[in-house]
Subunit: 352 residues, 3 copies
Amino acid sequence: MEFSAKQIATYIQGCVVGDENAKVSTFAKIEEGMPGAISFLANPKYIPYIYETQSSIVLVNKDFEPEKEIKATLIKVDNAYESMAKLLTLYESSKPRKTGIDAKAVIAPTAKIGENVYIAPYVVIGEGAEVGAGSQIYANSVIGDHAKVGANCVIYPNVTVYEGCKVGNNVILHAGCVIGADGFGHAPAADGYEKIPQIGIVIIEDNVEVGANTCIDRATMGATIIHKGVKLDNLIQIGHNVEIGCHTVMASQCGVAGSTKVGEWSMFGGQVGVAGHAKLGDKLYVGAQAGIAGNAKGGQTIIGSPAIDARVFARSSAVFKKLPEMYTTLNALQKEIENLKGQLNEAHKTEQ
Amino acid sequence: MEFSAKQIATYIQGCVVGDENAKVSTFAKIEEGMPGAISFLANPKYIPYIYETQSSIVLVNKDFEPEKEIKATLIKVDNAYESMAKLLTLYESSKPRKTGIDAKAVIAPTAKIGENVYIAPYVVIGEGAEVGAGSQIYANSVIGDHAKVGANCVIYPNVTVYEGCKVGNNVILHAGCVIGADGFGHAPAADGYEKIPQIGIVIIEDNVEVGANTCIDRATMGATIIHKGVKLDNLIQIGHNVEIGCHTVMASQCGVAGSTKVGEWSMFGGQVGVAGHAKLGDKLYVGAQAGIAGNAKGGQTIIGSPAIDARVFARSSAVFKKLPEMYTTLNALQKEIENLKGQLNEAHKTEQ
Amino acid sequence: MEFSAKQIATYIQGCVVGDENAKVSTFAKIEEGMPGAISFLANPKYIPYIYETQSSIVLVNKDFEPEKEIKATLIKVDNAYESMAKLLTLYESSKPRKTGIDAKAVIAPTAKIGENVYIAPYVVIGEGAEVGAGSQIYANSVIGDHAKVGANCVIYPNVTVYEGCKVGNNVILHAGCVIGADGFGHAPAADGYEKIPQIGIVIIEDNVEVGANTCIDRATMGATIIHKGVKLDNLIQIGHNVEIGCHTVMASQCGVAGSTKVGEWSMFGGQVGVAGHAKLGDKLYVGAQAGIAGNAKGGQTIIGSPAIDARVFARSSAVFKKLPEMYTTLNALQKEIENLKGQLNEAHKTEQ
């Protein structure tokens, strides 16, 4: 299907600069542009590409002012990234959607399955489990006994949802993620550790996305809770009894240890670690690879291991490189001062 | 089922303080307590909750002395955490256990399957493989050719045990873990790397627990060995030919590179990395995110990357924040000393 | 099967020192040697073992000169590691290879399957997907609609290749890896994040190996590209629109954030993190746990978080331990200088 700049501008409430009749049928990154494609420019790092892109149309923020000629037709919008998202969503929603329950899925007789679902071959759904209307479960995923999956969820292949865990509506679980494995609890004894049974569950609220191979452990007692709107990237570890506040996003390979409460609307870079039993405030911004050893107030940006204020970390890291030189200087100064003291003493004696 | 404080105290050899007839039918964390639930108090951080908890019974260590009135009935025991574990284990063991071999499992004719096992739909068990009595293998897990699984193991969904690997008795493998993928070995050549075939195996001894999506690579030659009682959390990487000593516990996302030997009874925080070909002593305590670049003696606590003594690290990290200030001070001092030297020289000349 | 030192030396173009008729039938690591086994010595760290090994034959580099008597027969070669690889490859290739399409695999009628493949039970291959000649796909792996797998690939159990992704020839995908899950893209809005649909794909070129549970995300638009000969270890995260240059190797648990371009022939230690939108040069050597926050030139060795020149890092880390002592010294010097200044002032006044 082909759309003109004018049609697109109408849909996203933008303003065309250039040829209203320019037509596109596909999407491309601005640096990989090609005729017939629409691109977008949001990150200023990519501005140079707009003067060279082969794309026919480029979405830009309305305050963008070109410094030289641009071949592409522009559509100016309030927020180019959001508008692109809107177009991509339209495109996605136009794709055909799988439905039906494959005869090769194993569904326990006591499970309740909603209307209009898709259940692929080799999916296994346990006793008393529930799957809400419109949800899609792809091949080889396993929904444990008494687990609940809400409406309009997408569960990709090879996912495991353990017994009794609860997944809300509009949740996406990517391939290989594991919801509800045992929390890591072992009591030391003389001849080895004894396992602390983990009898709690995991609750995932609405509109959450869980990345591929990410693990969210069940609670020892009670529930590990991922509140609504949270987005977890791939290969993340969420320990038992953790709670992640609404609309917090975490990049891949973060780890949050047991019983820690993470606030709302926070952002975590990749590979961040958070110790157990900590309480983190809302709107906490955490740089990649940070290590948070205890409680942290919200509304700040921290990084480093142990994590400190990001500006302090940047300045200290810059000096870190100079440590050997500082060490040498310090030792030299120490000697100089000894000398000076010696000379002053000499001088003093001479005077006397 | 309901139990009284008296009945519970008898089972765990504790002493009731309060109402012997207080009854409970469920478990709750002390901070999420509710009537009819039993909680425990072990971590001193949680002491404030005991004065507010709604739980009917709380297990406490015998040396716990309340500072104000407590509504709940207390049961004093030697070790509240262990006693709670004992109760949870009792509770778990009372749950019904699945048995039987599902007709939709594929079991090679040459495989040997013990008595009283549970084998779920879509499990695949290879030629010459063995599964010991009482083991449970959940949906979509794969036991490779000639692999051995001991007795009373629990293998959760979507686990892969590669060809020839050996899993002991009472082992728990959580969902998505991978036992015996090829070690990472490639010899550089002019036009790319050549794969070093990994012909060894993985040996997992008795009473080991392996977390969700954790990977333990097979040896190049010989075996990667996880000794008895080891507990590995989720998303851990164990390289080829590594050996992990008995009763060592590792929190999630640790990585141990090839051929390293980790000692016994050690504890690793999350996201620790250990270089290859290293030898670590017993009872080594490693803080989260540490990087161990070579051999390390046992009996110490280390942290940082590169890892150093934990107390030194804490002190140095505290000073790290002051580095910019130190740098400025150092430069200022250098100038001051130049000035002083100048003045002394002047004075000296004047004297002459 | 048994081979003599003479036969082996002929095959790998080596030179026998010792008994030409020494016979071996298995492989062993030099430190775990046993009669009838062949071992190799490449890493100088392992030299002491050659004087004690029980192995009958040891491959050594031709410049190796023993310092005392060695019981084993030696075979001197240009590169002992490569020669061992050659022998292991011969051994591996002599193993029987599975073929045939299991009746319990689900293959869409529109999928194209090449000759001489092995497709295990419970594999699911989607509409319009392709699998090239000689490829092996193990149990419970899923090849999405319109995805392509080239010739002579090995796909281990529980792998997921999402819709439309392209895998080249001679590629190995280890168990649980996920190719083509959605990139992590969400646009913030007032009431939560909106998902940016990820309509791109993943392209994996020829001769790539992907480790167990490693995740390679699909592009937002265009393709995430793993160029030929790349070797990725386990539990690695490759973000959307990333490109990894030919013959780059990454140890386990590395993470590369979105849109970053990694160069060719580079080596990454374990747990390295790379920020998004960065450009890294060729032949970049990155130490374990490094954090690369932006662009980096090739041809250098870097480590630390943020990553800096490896030698600088080593020296600065050595001084890091002395920071508390330096801090104390610096403060003391500051006072000394104040004293000296005081004394000089005094002296000056006295003179006047």
